[in-house]
């Protein structure tokens, strides 16, 4: 019998392996055509043969994703602070933001292509457009939900709005901000891959669409797996940063209470 903590730690690996084995077994048992669903072994084989283009295109996707994400962070923080700062701006901008966010970003890609041509710029911009919203909302929420009593305490000391934002609002918004980064990075991935699939000459999305038209299904799936790995790595990185920067929010009842 394994100790419970060890079991808990081994669980993700065990489940991933189990899923792979199940997949392999189904392909083998039902004799599924590799054009429909290639077995994990075929995908792995393809990944090994095509490791060079896979790596290059993964790099391209990573770059467009991170570039779009970086713009989203800068823009999202500024806009979030502006929105969280004043109630009037909040009320005015919020419906516009929600409306914008409800547009499927894939519909914007053709416009971006007309403006900027085929290449990495539409991918970067799509990643940015799709990922800035959660950052804005979280930063604004963190700022806007400062306890009114705490604000009274500071105002009774002669604090200006800027003091309150600096001493309370920004630290308070941090867990929201870092929490939103995990969400934003995965969304940025979606954006860049969507754009690459439609109009690009590099990136995993491009590789998958080319491989798909050549009926190289194992390679298409190898691309998917590569995306999953990149996505998990980025998510884990930002989850780690979140834990490190805002430990107090995990320890106190703060996060649970709001």
């Amino acid at each position: 019998m394994m100790p419970a903590s060890l079991m808990e730690r081994a669980a993700p690996v065990a489940f991933t392996l189990g899923l792979g084995i199940l997949w392999e077994a189904i392909c083998w048992l039902f004799n599924i055509d590799p054009i429909i669903l290639p077995a994990p072994s075929a995908i792995a084989e393809s990944a090994v043969t095509h490791w060079k283009p896979l790596l290059r295109h993964s790099g391209a996707t990573m770059w467009t994703t991170l570039a779009g994400f970086a713009i989203a962070v800068a823009f999202g923080v500024v806009l979030g602070m502006v929105i969280g700062w004043s109630r009037a701006i909040y009320r005015g901008l919020y419906p516009v933001m929600v409306g914008f966010n409800s547009i499927p970003k894939v519909a914007v890609v053709p416009i971006l292509v007309i403006w900027f041509g085929i290449g990495e710029i539409p991918a970067i911009l799509t990643a940015f457009l799709i990922s800035f919203f959660p950052i804005v909302v979280n930063v604004a929420t963190g700022l806007a939900t400062t306890e009114p009593e705490l604000e009274d305490v500071l105002r009774a000391l002669g604090a200006r709005k800027l003091d309150i934002i600096l001493k309370v609002g920004i630290p308070r918004a941090q867990p929201y901000f870092f929490g939103s980064l995990k969400v934003a990075i995965t969304l940025a991935f979606v954006g860049s891959v969507v754009s690459e699939t439609i109009a690009a000459n590099a990136g995993i999305g491009y590789l998958m669409s080319v491989a798909g038209t050549n009926f190289q299904m194992p390679l298409v799936f190898a691309g998917l797996i590569a995306l999953a790995i990149e996505g998990i790595a980025m998510y884990a990185l930002f989850a780690f940063i979140e834990m490190r920067t805002t430990r107090w929010a995990f320890r106190s009842s703060f996060a649970a209470g709001t």
């Binding site: 009593e149 000391l157 604090a159 929010a249 320890r251 106190s252």
Partner: protein
């Protein structure tokens, strides 16, 4: 210090009206009243957070036109900043109030020592490095008191600061506040619904009427100081509480 309010109303609801209250410098005043009588409005008026629609408010002889900048406040919730240690929470006002604000970086060590001394006074020796979530509710409330006092405010406004605590902790904190007041000598306005708390701590207890709130009675508490907790069981004390209680019952009708 003189506080005189003639009236104030918020969005269509008149919270307090014809409210007159004088608190001498260094005095301990308590305000009691039924719930919803505008006690919190009184707090905001006195600190200048809310402007009266009519009437005037003066603190230390000067008319209050904006936030007074010299008040310390503590509320029912300790409202500590969870990302700061206890010491840094107590130091927060010094990062805002002049002239400490300008000197804060340079004299950080002096100020930290000052915070530690104040924490020791309320029995929080050795907790300066802890974080708020590691402390009990009573200890958080003590920290909140220290934060309200660190910049040596002329006026301390307390809005039911002990209401969320259990009975034993509450009595313990009464003594903490009693000792702090005896030692430092600031002016206190304590808003509470606990009559025993008001009678035990204050020089004068003011009774407010239901909305629109105004002062309907003021009673000086002439119990000798220093007061020990046992005084709560003296017949004299019980009479005072009884008297206050009947006045509240009157205004509730």
């Amino acid at each position: 210090m003189t506080l005189t309010y003639a009236g104030a109303s918020g969005d269509g609801v008149t919270a307090v009206q014809g409210l007159d209250l004088n608190v001498e410098r260094g005095a301990f005043a308590a305000v009691v009243g039924p719930s919803g009588c505008g006690k919190s409005t009184l707090m905001k008026l006195a600190t200048g957070l809310v402007r009266p629609n009519e009437g005037r408010i003066a603190v230390d002889g000067a008319l209050v036109k904006g936030p007074v900048k010299i008040a310390g406040m503590a509320f029912q919730n300790a409202n500590l900043l969870p990302w700061r240690t206890i010491r840094d929470n107590v130091l927060l006002p010094l990062e805002i109030v002049e002239p400490h604000r300008r000197r804060f970086r340079r004299n950080k060590a002096d100020y930290a020592a000052r915070a530690d001394r104040l924490l020791a006074l309320v029995g929080l020796d050795g907790f300066a490095e802890r974080f708020p979530w590691e402390l009990s509710g009573g200890m958080q409330q003590r920290t909140s008191l220290c934060r309200a006092l660190i910049h040596e405010p002329a006026l301390l406004m307390l809005d039911e600061p002990f209401a969320a605590l259990d009975a034993f902790t509450r009595e313990e904190l009464w003594c903490v506040l009693r000792d702090l007041w005896a030692r430092i000598g600031f002016t206190v306005i304590l808003v509470t619904h606990d009559l025993r708390e008001a009678a035990f701590l204050a020089d004068t207890v003011h009774v407010m009427s239901a909305r629109p709130g105004r002062i309907v009675a003021s009673r000086a508490i002439e119990l000798p100081r220093p007061r020990a907790l046992d005084i709560c069981f003296e017949p004299e004390f019980v009479d005072i509480v009884h008297d206050l209680r009947s006045r509240i019952s009157e205004v509730r009708q």
